[in-house]
């Protein structure tokens, strides 16, 4: 189990908590960095490491207010790793969206159609 990964948010990058011991997997706030590949690299590395020995049930929260298209591709990568984990253990995606934020809901719906995992949609 990799050491927990915690990244504080900035005005253009999200808050990240990857803590397998306490079963918290969350990305929240805003993601619109210019260099999304650079920012998400450590997240993807962590998840790849984690996928070797995941816990029984991984509940992954996406609680984003906003993300740019460059971040969308990186989120797609994260979901692909989670999809792989889902082949041997249970994985659930909680996709949060603000009331009235139709775009965030439809982004989640789009991913749920393309990724073979259970998605819960919840207003916050």
């Amino acid at each position: 189990m990799p050491e927990k990964l915690i990244i504080d948010s900035t005005e253009d990058t999200p808050k990240v908590i990857f803590d397998a011991e306490n079963k918290i997997f969350q990305i929240s706030e805003r993601s619109l960095p210019e260099n999304a590949i650079g920012f998400y690299e450590s997240l993807l590395n962590w998840l790849t490491q984690y996928s070797k020995n995941p816990i029984e049930l991984t509940i992954f929260d996406f609680k984003l207010e906003y993300f740019n298209t460059a971040s969308a591709k990186q989120i797609a990568k994260i979901l692909l790793i989670l999809e792989n984990i889902g082949k041997k253990k249970n994985v659930v995606i909680n996709w949060y969206f603000k009331k009235e934020d139709a775009d965030m809901l439809s982004s989640g719906t789009r991913f749920s159609k393309l990724i073979n995992l259970n998605f819960n949609f919840a207003e916050y």
Partner: protein, 375 residues
């Protein structure tokens, strides 16, 4: 419609050139709220940090800014006139290592004589006398209901170390638009030279164009992630409408600005950021966002193909294409559009309007135009 777009796109290049000529950095036209004021200050601070060495100049420019912005806020409700000119104006530019700050607001014609006399009096005083005059006005009880009585103007003259330039543009028999032009510098300047007045006239011309098209904000680069974040902040403060509409506008702005940062062409390697122009205008709740930037000539064909390709797809095909690109992690080949362009097309619901103007053998000026309709 296409014709209308062409007109807009030609206008972008014209405005870009006009702003380049005068080094206009940032133009804001609209209501001045606390948020907007804070953002303009942050944006200028960011610009000063990058460009200006002298701490003294930095401080001067900053304190004059505060004074100018307060002046607009204080007077913006003076005239209850439903005219494009009821919006305040703020402009900052840099010329020959000097900063020029121009503010504008509507004034009633009855007040013009008072303002003129005051500025002429201030301009006629030497530095030492200004101090005394400031004290005198402060002690003389004749303060206006706004608490100003010209103290702001005296202060601006003191801080700038230069004469104040001004102009009144008549609107109708009741009101005029008042332009005030300040140049903070350490040593006094010879303002008799005609080019200062010319520069104010150029601003007035640009302002007329902004009024006609109801443009709220123009930023003339250089663009980088930092200036982008501040621009976004100033937009968030002033947009009206539903949350989802606002977010759409926000989204399109991010994609279009990041497009400049990522794919723009910078002939001047000393410049910290991409040269370009960003314009946002509003009409009855519909927002129009326009960007212009240089692109390397060898990218022209492929960029054009990408946009045409995306423009020709049906709604369903567009959706499929988006999904395909979302999971395509290969480096974009020439035919493939980036996710950003596809999403601009989806979010705006219209074909993407664009134009290319050849500016040299190595570069084109590329402009992009999107409208987000009110929901």
């Amino acid at each position: 419609m296409q014709n209308e777009h062409e007109k807009v796109l030609n206008f972008v290049l014209t405005l870009f050139k006009a702003m380049q000529k005068d080094n206009l950095g940032y133009v804001y036209r609209g209501r001045f709220t606390q948020d907007i004021t804070d953002n303009i200050l942050a944006l200028t601070e960011n610009k000063l940090e990058k460009e200006e060495q002298s701490a003294k100049i930095k401080k001067r420019v900053y304190s004059i800014l505060v004074e100018c912005l307060q002046n607009i806020t204080r007077h913006q409700d003076d005239a209850k006139v439903d005219s494009p000119d009821s919006n305040g104006l703020f402009v900052i530019q840099k010329h020959d290592e000097k900063y020029f700050i121009t503010t504008g607001n509507l004034v009633m014609n009855d007040n013009i004589d008072y303002i003129k006399n005051l500025i002429e009096t201030i301009n006629g005083l030497e530095k030492e006398d200004l101090k005394d005059y400031y004290k005198m006005v402060l002690e003389d009880g004749s303060l206006s209901s706004k608490g100003g009585a010209g103290l702001g103007l005296i202060d601006m003259a003191r801080k700038s170390g230069n004469k104040l330039l001004y102009q009144f543009r008549p609107i109708d028999d009741k009101s005029s638009f008042f332009y005030l032009h300040t140049i903070p510098s350490l040593e006094g300047l010879d303002l008799k030279s005609g080019n200062k007045a010319e520069s104010l006239n150029n601003i007035i011309d640009i302002h007329n164009t902004l009024n006609k098209k109801n443009i709220l904000l123009v930023s003339n680069g250089p663009f980088n992630q930092e200036s982008l974040m501040i621009l976004l902040g100033s937009l968030e403060g002033q947009m009206t409408g539903t949350i989802s509409h606002k977010k759409k506008v926000f989204f399109v702005v991010v994609e279009m600005l990041q497009n400049i940062v990522k794919h723009g062409f910078n002939a001047d390697s000393n410049c910290l950021g991409m040269p370009g122009i960003f314009i946002i205008s509003e009409h009855e709740g519909h927002y129009t966002i326009t960007t212009g930037n240089y692109v390397n000539a060898y990218k022209y064909e492929s960029l054009k193909n990408k946009i045409e390709n995306v423009n020709n797809l049906s709604k369903e095909k567009l959706d499929e294409y988006f999904n395909k690109c979302l999971f395509d992690f290969e480096i974009d080949s020439s035919k493939k559009a980036g996710l950003g362009i596809i999403d601009l097309r989806i979010k705006s619901g219209n074909p993407i309007a664009y134009s290319f103007n050849k500016v040299s053998n190595e570069a084109y000026f590329f402009s992009l135009h999107t409208t987000i309709n009110k929901e």
